[in-house]
Point group: C2
Chain length 303, copies 2
């Protein structure tokens, strides 16, 4: 067992009526009630960056880790025993908090030593979705077709980059992003053949537009990286017979996906995004070195 | 569009205080509110057997179907517009209702013509889980190891039969079933090398016992066929690195599976059971002919 103290790095936020104060109250309430952090909408937890306070006897990495080392946890905060004494800053754009507190990381809990060649918050931001790109690397083959929902967000961009790297120049990669600014960011990165500004909650419109962008054909693979509910049918409807719909979105409903595919008679493999894959932290951190334009964008957004 | 009238076949159930009356009220309430049937606990809907009232113009099977034909819908009732005028009988053991009413099956909705060589309720019972065995047939290879949770229920038994057929005599198939009567039924069928009477909601106990029954090794494939919540971790913990945990259970929570696997650092493919697979109705009905002992058991339970 090892304890990591989340770091303080800036001054306290706005007044008692501000959105920042409301976020602070909600997070402190959740942690007080559950002893863990659990987003009430998505059910997910995020992760943390901090300094090691103490390494428990018998920890498998006892010889690699020492008090003071800077680590990021790769276990969801919804599974990490946690105490937060004070929220120092609420960073709304990057969905990050600066806090004082203590957390317990079990010996089986994955973590990453912070890299020295990039800012902490950038590393933390990409480690939070470290499972996405390694899974895509397993799923995309040369020349395949991929439709990414929520492609302009953090995991969506990493998926698009990885899909292009694995799929090569003959792959057909279509990104769907409802937020205009993110759609434009995604276009500039050049991973996608087309970027469609559409809402993934409108499956019929989305299917028509996505297939039109793919020569009228359904896709080998769809990746759902949205952060809204009710996007299951879009992912299912754009996927070809015996293709794969892979759900990274924590807002995905198991029954909506299972019964939705059955309801429309789609023989498609439906996969729950596993946040863990071997070597996922190194894989994803390394993408910040391989894709400097992604790094620059993420530093702007999340740095 | 085609309409199927669910069939009446027996007299009305007990008095106003009976469990049957409560089920009737709950189902009629749900259908009145939603225009569809939706189990409030599992989120699933089941399916129906009825006679064709009318075949819509342009239906792709217009030449195969005629009013009076007996069909079973293979689309979840949670997606089937429905009106129920009267509940005639509540069959608790088989979780079936006899009703008078009308339903609409869209042209894209899968259905099966009822076979002539088996009782309707048997066919209906197995068609309700028609997707399970065909998926198992794709996943099990010769000599593989399979752990089935909820293996003594309807889909669990079909999965065990299919796993043995595909896996052959050298496959290692372990069934887990918490209900003693069902566990004994499953033992007698002989598909499983061992049947463990354990609760899938206790993942640590279950993992220890299941691995002990598999020479200390984790399984290539786990199949969750339970009907209770909080069984995700058991399926994940018994599965080997890069193996597959396949969730047929409609009680599965997407976030519990995704974050659970991440939390314990298990690099396992997590799959949502798709109720549809090509040829699933014929595949599963045919198992009643190939496996007479399964047919006899299902007739006793669900006939």
């Amino acid at each position: 067992m090892e304890e990591a103290a989340p770091e303080a790095s800036s001054a306290a936020g706005g007044g008692p009526e501000s959105a920042e104060a409301r976020v602070t109250r909600l997070v402190l309430d959740t942690i007080a009630k559950r002893g863990k952090q659990h987003n009430p909408v998505t059910g997910s937890g995020g992760m943390l960056l901090g300094r090691v306070l103490q390494v428990g006897q018998g920890h498998p990495d006892a010889e690699r880790l020492a008090p003071g080392d800077r680590v990021a946890t790769l276990v969801s905060l919804s599974l990490t025993p946690l105490r937060v004494d004070r929220v120092l800053d609420v960073r709304r754009e990057s969905a990050q908090l600066d806090v004082e507190g203590e957390a317990v990381l079990f010996a089986s809990g994955a973590y990453a030593r912070m890299p020295s060649d990039m800012p902490d918050r950038l590393a933390l931001a990409v480690l939070d979705v470290a499972g996405a790109a390694p899974q895509v690397a397993r799923l995309v083959s040369s020349g395949g077709s991929v439709c990414i929902l929520g492609a302009g967000g953090k995991s969506g961009i990493l998926c698009a980059a990885e899909a292009r790297r694995r799929g090569g120049p003959n792959a057909r990669i279509i990104g769907v992003e409802s937020y205009g600014t993110y759609a434009e960011d995604l276009r500039k990165l050049g991973f996608c053949d087309e970027v469609l500004e559409l809402d993934a909650r409108d499956p019929v419109t989305l299917r028509n537009a996505a297939l039109a962008a793919n020569g009228g054909k359904e896709f080998d693979l769809s990746l759902s990286c949205v952060n809204v509910a009710d996007s299951e049918m879009s992912a299912i409807l754009v996927t070809r017979d015996r293709g794969t719909a892979y759900f990274f979105a924590m807002s995905t409903s198991f029954t909506k996906a299972a019964l939705g595919a059955e309801g429309v008679g789609k023989d498609v493999d439906l996969v729950i995004g596993n946040g863990f894959a071997h070597g996922h932290a190194d894989h994803t951190l390394d993408m910040m070195r391989t894709f400097p334009a992604v790094r620059a964008l993420f530093e702007k957004r999340y740095g």
